[in-house]
Symmetry: C2
Subunit: 134 residues, 2 copies
Amino acid sequence: MSTALTTGEVADRAGVNLQTVRYYERRGLIPEPPRSAGGFRQYGPDAVRRIRFVKRAQELGFSLDEVDELLTLRADADGQAAEVRELALAKVDDIAGKIRDLERMRASLDALAAACGGQGSTADCSILHALDDD
Amino acid sequence: MSTALTTGEVADRAGVNLQTVRYYERRGLIPEPPRSAGGFRQYGPDAVRRIRFVKRAQELGFSLDEVDELLTLRADADGQAAEVRELALAKVDDIAGKIRDLERMRASLDALAAACGGQGSTADCSILHALDDD
DNA sequence: GGCAACCCGGTACCTGACTACAGGGCGTTA
DNA sequence: TAACGCCCTGTAGTCAGGTACCGGGTTGCC
Protein backbone atom coordinates (compact mmCIF):
# COMPACT_ATOMS: atom_id res chain seq x y z
CA MET A 1 0.00 0.00 0.00
CA SER A 2 3.04 2.21 -0.21
CA THR A 3 3.32 4.63 -3.08
CA ALA A 4 6.19 2.71 -4.66
CA LEU A 5 6.27 2.79 -8.43
CA THR A 6 7.34 0.02 -10.76
CA THR A 7 9.80 0.60 -13.55
CA GLY A 8 6.97 0.71 -16.07
CA GLU A 9 5.08 3.30 -14.07
CA VAL A 10 8.15 5.47 -13.72
CA ALA A 11 8.78 5.17 -17.43
CA ASP A 12 5.20 6.15 -18.27
CA ARG A 13 5.20 9.12 -15.95
CA ALA A 14 8.53 10.35 -17.20
CA GLY A 15 7.51 9.78 -20.79
CA VAL A 16 10.30 7.37 -21.64
CA ASN A 17 10.64 3.74 -22.56
CA LEU A 18 10.99 1.20 -19.78
CA GLN A 19 14.33 0.15 -21.22
CA THR A 20 15.48 3.71 -20.97
CA VAL A 21 14.92 3.70 -17.23
CA ARG A 22 17.11 0.65 -16.86
CA TYR A 23 19.65 2.14 -19.22
CA TYR A 24 19.86 5.29 -17.11
CA GLU A 25 20.29 3.18 -14.03
CA ARG A 26 23.17 1.32 -15.71
CA ARG A 27 24.70 4.67 -16.63
CA GLY A 28 24.41 5.82 -13.05
CA LEU A 29 22.02 8.64 -13.86
CA ILE A 30 19.42 7.36 -11.46
CA PRO A 31 20.18 5.57 -8.21
CA GLU A 32 19.39 1.91 -7.76
CA PRO A 33 16.06 1.71 -5.99
CA PRO A 34 15.12 -0.80 -3.31
CA ARG A 35 13.54 -4.03 -4.46
CA SER A 36 10.46 -5.98 -3.57
CA ALA A 37 10.82 -9.48 -2.15
CA GLY A 38 10.39 -10.77 -5.68
CA GLY A 39 13.07 -8.50 -7.11
CA PHE A 40 10.92 -5.72 -8.61
CA ARG A 41 12.33 -2.22 -8.41
CA GLN A 42 10.39 0.07 -6.09
CA TYR A 43 10.80 3.69 -7.00
CA GLY A 44 9.81 6.78 -5.12
CA PRO A 45 8.42 9.79 -6.97
CA ASP A 46 11.91 11.32 -7.09
CA ALA A 47 12.87 8.90 -9.80
CA VAL A 48 10.37 10.46 -12.19
CA ARG A 49 11.70 13.93 -11.47
CA ARG A 50 15.22 12.72 -11.93
CA ILE A 51 14.48 11.31 -15.37
CA ARG A 52 12.71 14.51 -16.35
CA PHE A 53 15.79 16.41 -15.24
CA VAL A 54 17.88 14.29 -17.56
CA LYS A 55 15.48 14.77 -20.44
CA ARG A 56 15.33 18.53 -19.96
CA ALA A 57 19.09 18.79 -19.84
CA GLN A 58 19.26 16.73 -23.01
CA GLU A 59 16.86 19.10 -24.70
CA LEU A 60 19.28 21.87 -23.86
CA GLY A 61 22.00 20.00 -25.65
CA PHE A 62 23.77 18.20 -22.83
CA SER A 63 25.01 14.69 -23.45
CA LEU A 64 24.33 12.03 -20.85
CA ASP A 65 27.92 12.30 -19.65
CA GLU A 66 27.38 15.99 -19.15
CA VAL A 67 24.08 15.40 -17.40
CA ASP A 68 25.97 13.10 -15.10
CA GLU A 69 28.35 15.95 -14.31
CA LEU A 70 25.45 18.24 -13.55
CA LEU A 71 23.94 15.65 -11.25
CA THR A 72 27.25 15.07 -9.54
CA LEU A 73 27.67 18.79 -8.95
CA ARG A 74 24.17 18.98 -7.61
CA ALA A 75 24.76 16.09 -5.25
CA ASP A 76 28.07 17.48 -4.06
CA ALA A 77 27.56 19.48 -0.90
CA ASP A 78 30.56 21.61 -1.87
CA GLY A 79 29.38 22.06 -5.44
CA GLN A 80 29.48 25.65 -6.58
CA ALA A 81 26.84 27.19 -8.79
CA ALA A 82 29.72 28.74 -10.74
CA GLU A 83 30.71 25.31 -12.02
CA VAL A 84 27.22 24.66 -13.31
CA ARG A 85 27.29 28.05 -14.94
CA GLU A 86 30.60 27.15 -16.58
CA LEU A 87 29.11 24.00 -18.05
CA ALA A 88 26.15 25.95 -19.34
CA LEU A 89 28.35 28.60 -20.93
CA ALA A 90 30.61 25.98 -22.49
CA LYS A 91 27.54 24.34 -23.94
CA VAL A 92 26.34 27.66 -25.31
CA ASP A 93 29.68 27.96 -27.13
CA ASP A 94 29.35 24.45 -28.35
CA ILE A 95 25.91 25.11 -29.72
CA ALA A 96 27.00 28.39 -31.25
CA GLY A 97 29.73 26.51 -33.10
CA LYS A 98 27.24 24.03 -34.47
CA ILE A 99 24.98 26.86 -35.56
CA ARG A 100 27.84 28.50 -37.39
CA ASP A 101 28.64 25.24 -39.16
CA LEU A 102 25.05 24.78 -40.20
CA GLU A 103 24.76 28.36 -41.34
CA ARG A 104 27.77 27.94 -43.55
CA MET A 105 26.18 24.86 -45.09
CA ARG A 106 22.91 26.64 -45.58
CA ALA A 107 24.56 29.64 -47.19
CA SER A 108 26.51 27.44 -49.59
CA LEU A 109 23.51 25.37 -50.50
CA ASP A 110 21.32 28.43 -50.86
CA ALA A 111 23.84 29.95 -53.23
CA LEU A 112 24.04 26.75 -55.24
CA ALA A 113 20.28 26.35 -55.44
CA ALA A 114 19.88 29.98 -56.44
CA ALA A 115 22.49 29.65 -59.17
CA CYS A 116 20.73 26.57 -60.44
CA GLY A 117 17.71 27.38 -62.52
CA GLY A 118 16.56 23.80 -62.25
CA GLN A 119 16.36 23.70 -65.99
CA GLY A 120 17.68 21.01 -68.26
CA SER A 121 19.48 17.80 -67.53
CA THR A 122 21.80 16.95 -64.70
CA ALA A 123 24.69 17.24 -67.15
CA ASP A 124 24.19 21.00 -66.96
CA CYS A 125 23.37 21.15 -63.27
CA SER A 126 25.50 23.78 -61.63
CA ILE A 127 25.08 22.14 -58.24
CA LEU A 128 26.58 18.90 -59.43
CA HIS A 129 29.34 20.78 -61.20
CA ALA A 130 30.17 22.66 -58.03
CA LEU A 131 30.47 19.39 -56.13
CA ASP A 132 32.66 18.02 -58.85
CA ASP A 133 35.12 20.87 -58.97
CA ASP A 134 38.78 20.22 -58.42
CA MET B 1 53.58 1.74 -66.11
CA SER B 2 49.95 2.75 -66.54
CA THR B 3 48.60 5.54 -64.37
CA ALA B 4 46.53 3.14 -62.30
CA LEU B 5 46.29 4.02 -58.64
CA THR B 6 46.14 1.66 -55.72
CA THR B 7 43.55 2.00 -53.01
CA GLY B 8 46.07 3.61 -50.72
CA GLU B 9 47.06 6.17 -53.32
CA VAL B 10 43.45 7.05 -54.00
CA ALA B 11 42.84 7.40 -50.29
CA ASP B 12 45.84 9.69 -49.86
CA ARG B 13 44.90 11.87 -52.79
CA ALA B 14 41.31 12.17 -51.70
CA GLY B 15 42.34 12.80 -48.11
CA VAL B 16 40.50 9.87 -46.61
CA ASN B 17 41.39 6.63 -44.89
CA LEU B 18 42.03 3.56 -47.01
CA GLN B 19 39.18 1.81 -45.23
CA THR B 20 36.90 4.64 -46.22
CA VAL B 21 37.56 3.95 -49.88
CA ARG B 22 36.53 0.35 -49.47
CA TYR B 23 33.56 1.39 -47.39
CA TYR B 24 32.38 3.71 -50.15
CA GLU B 25 32.77 0.91 -52.65
CA ARG B 26 30.65 -1.40 -50.48
CA ARG B 27 28.05 1.36 -50.25
CA GLY B 28 28.05 1.70 -54.00
CA LEU B 29 29.30 5.28 -53.93
CA ILE B 30 32.27 4.47 -56.11
CA PRO B 31 32.26 1.82 -58.84
CA GLU B 32 34.26 -1.34 -58.49
CA PRO B 33 37.51 -0.80 -60.32
CA PRO B 34 39.33 -3.39 -62.41
CA ARG B 35 41.84 -5.58 -60.65
CA SER B 36 45.41 -6.55 -61.26
CA ALA B 37 46.23 -10.20 -61.84
CA GLY B 38 46.96 -10.46 -58.15
CA GLY B 39 43.68 -8.88 -57.10
CA PHE B 40 44.78 -5.31 -56.40
CA ARG B 41 42.29 -2.60 -57.27
CA GLN B 42 43.41 -0.38 -60.14
CA TYR B 43 41.78 3.01 -60.02
CA GLY B 44 41.73 5.74 -62.59
CA PRO B 45 41.95 9.38 -61.51
CA ASP B 46 38.15 9.63 -61.59
CA ALA B 47 37.99 7.71 -58.35
CA VAL B 48 39.72 10.51 -56.50
CA ARG B 49 37.31 13.07 -57.91
CA ARG B 50 34.40 10.86 -57.02
CA ILE B 51 35.46 10.62 -53.41
CA ARG B 52 35.98 14.36 -53.25
CA PHE B 53 32.47 14.80 -54.61
CA VAL B 54 31.16 12.67 -51.79
CA LYS B 55 33.14 14.59 -49.21
CA ARG B 56 32.01 17.95 -50.51
CA ALA B 57 28.39 16.87 -50.52
CA GLN B 58 28.82 15.65 -46.97
CA GLU B 59 30.19 19.01 -45.95
CA LEU B 60 26.99 20.53 -47.27
CA GLY B 61 25.00 18.28 -44.98
CA PHE B 62 24.08 15.41 -47.26
CA SER B 63 24.12 11.91 -45.82
CA LEU B 64 25.76 9.15 -47.79
CA ASP B 65 22.33 7.88 -48.85
CA GLU B 66 21.59 11.33 -50.19
CA VAL B 67 24.94 11.54 -51.90
CA ASP B 68 24.04 8.26 -53.54
CA GLU B 69 20.86 9.86 -54.85
CA LEU B 70 22.82 12.77 -56.24
CA LEU B 71 25.21 10.41 -57.96
CA THR B 72 22.36 8.36 -59.35
CA LEU B 73 20.70 11.47 -60.73
CA ARG B 74 23.96 12.54 -62.24
CA ALA B 75 24.51 9.18 -63.86
CA ASP B 76 20.96 9.04 -65.18
CA ALA B 77 20.85 10.32 -68.72
CA ASP B 78 17.27 11.45 -68.13
CA GLY B 79 18.10 13.05 -64.77
CA GLN B 80 16.70 16.54 -64.47
CA ALA B 81 18.57 19.34 -62.80
CA ALA B 82 15.28 20.22 -61.12
CA GLU B 83 15.50 17.04 -59.07
CA VAL B 84 18.94 17.94 -57.81
CA ARG B 85 17.64 21.38 -56.97
CA GLU B 86 14.79 19.78 -55.03
CA LEU B 87 17.23 17.76 -52.97
CA ALA B 88 19.28 20.84 -52.27
CA LEU B 89 16.25 22.86 -51.21
CA ALA B 90 14.98 20.06 -49.02
CA LYS B 91 18.37 19.95 -47.38
CA VAL B 92 18.28 23.68 -46.84
CA ASP B 93 15.00 23.21 -44.99
CA ASP B 94 16.47 20.40 -43.02
CA ILE B 95 19.42 22.51 -42.00
CA ALA B 96 17.19 25.46 -41.19
CA GLY B 97 15.21 23.22 -38.85
CA LYS B 98 18.35 22.12 -37.07
CA ILE B 99 19.45 25.73 -36.74
CA ARG B 100 16.11 26.64 -35.20
CA ASP B 101 16.42 23.78 -32.71
CA LEU B 102 19.91 24.84 -31.74
CA GLU B 103 18.90 28.46 -31.46
CA ARG B 104 16.13 27.53 -29.08
CA MET B 105 18.63 25.61 -26.98
CA ARG B 106 21.05 28.48 -27.01
CA ALA B 107 18.41 31.01 -26.05
CA SER B 108 17.24 28.86 -23.15
CA LEU B 109 20.73 28.23 -21.92
CA ASP B 110 21.70 31.85 -22.32
CA ALA B 111 18.72 32.90 -20.28
CA LEU B 112 19.54 30.36 -17.60
CA ALA B 113 23.19 31.34 -17.46
CA ALA B 114 22.27 35.01 -17.30
CA ALA B 115 19.82 34.43 -14.47
CA CYS B 116 22.47 32.50 -12.61
CA GLY B 117 24.91 34.75 -10.90
CA GLY B 118 27.24 31.81 -10.40
CA GLN B 119 27.28 32.62 -6.73
CA GLY B 120 26.88 30.22 -3.88
CA SER B 121 26.34 26.51 -3.79
CA THR B 122 24.56 24.30 -6.26
CA ALA B 123 21.67 24.13 -3.85
CA ASP B 124 20.85 27.68 -4.88
CA CYS B 125 21.73 27.26 -8.55
CA SER B 126 18.91 28.57 -10.66
CA ILE B 127 20.01 26.45 -13.61
CA LEU B 128 19.67 23.24 -11.68
CA HIS B 129 16.36 24.41 -10.28
CA ALA B 130 15.08 25.11 -13.75
CA LEU B 131 16.01 21.62 -14.85
CA ASP B 132 14.29 20.23 -11.82
CA ASP B 133 10.97 21.99 -12.29
CA ASP B 134 7.80 20.02 -12.56
C1' DG C 1 -5.55 -21.02 -7.78
C1' DG C 2 -5.52 -19.46 -12.23
C1' DC C 3 -4.24 -16.19 -15.45
C1' DA C 4 -3.00 -11.89 -17.76
C1' DA C 5 -0.05 -8.28 -17.36
C1' DC C 6 3.98 -6.95 -15.95
C1' DC C 7 8.90 -7.23 -14.52
C1' DC C 8 13.64 -9.56 -14.24
C1' DG C 9 18.68 -9.98 -16.15
C1' DG C 10 21.41 -10.56 -20.06
C1' DT C 11 22.34 -9.99 -24.54
C1' DA C 12 21.84 -8.36 -29.05
C1' DC C 13 20.43 -4.99 -32.29
C1' DC C 14 19.69 -0.17 -34.32
C1' DT C 15 21.50 4.32 -36.98
C1' DG C 16 25.67 6.54 -39.55
C1' DA C 17 30.04 6.80 -40.93
C1' DC C 18 33.66 5.06 -40.43
C1' DT C 19 38.01 2.54 -38.38
C1' DA C 20 40.70 -1.41 -36.75
C1' DC C 21 42.45 -5.92 -36.71
C1' DA C 22 43.89 -10.58 -38.13
C1' DG C 23 45.90 -13.58 -41.17
C1' DG C 24 47.42 -14.04 -45.51
C1' DG C 25 48.91 -12.59 -50.50
C1' DC C 26 51.13 -9.32 -53.91
C1' DG C 27 54.64 -6.07 -55.96
C1' DT C 28 58.87 -4.07 -56.25
C1' DT C 29 63.38 -3.38 -55.40
C1' DA C 30 68.09 -5.32 -54.22
C1' DT D 1 65.02 -15.02 -53.79
C1' DA D 2 64.50 -12.38 -49.89
C1' DA D 3 62.61 -8.67 -47.69
C1' DC D 4 59.59 -4.98 -46.93
C1' DG D 5 55.67 -2.40 -47.59
C1' DC D 6 51.44 -2.40 -49.24
C1' DC D 7 47.13 -4.68 -50.44
C1' DC D 8 43.48 -8.39 -49.90
C1' DT D 9 38.95 -10.26 -47.47
C1' DG D 10 36.21 -10.69 -43.64
C1' DT D 11 34.89 -9.54 -39.34
C1' DA D 12 34.40 -6.71 -35.44
C1' DG D 13 34.61 -2.51 -32.84
C1' DT D 14 33.70 2.63 -32.15
C1' DC D 15 30.49 6.58 -30.72
C1' DA D 16 25.58 7.93 -28.49
C1' DG D 17 21.46 6.85 -26.93
C1' DG D 18 18.66 4.02 -26.77
C1' DT D 19 15.45 -0.24 -28.17
C1' DA D 20 14.22 -5.15 -28.72
C1' DC D 21 14.08 -9.91 -27.59
C1' DC D 22 14.26 -14.10 -24.72
C1' DG D 23 13.18 -17.29 -21.27
C1' DG D 24 11.64 -17.12 -17.04
C1' DG D 25 9.74 -15.13 -12.42
C1' DT D 26 6.24 -11.99 -9.92
C1' DT D 27 1.90 -9.41 -8.87
C1' DG D 28 -2.49 -8.66 -8.40
C1' DC D 29 -7.18 -9.43 -9.36
C1' DC D 30 -11.25 -12.56 -10.03
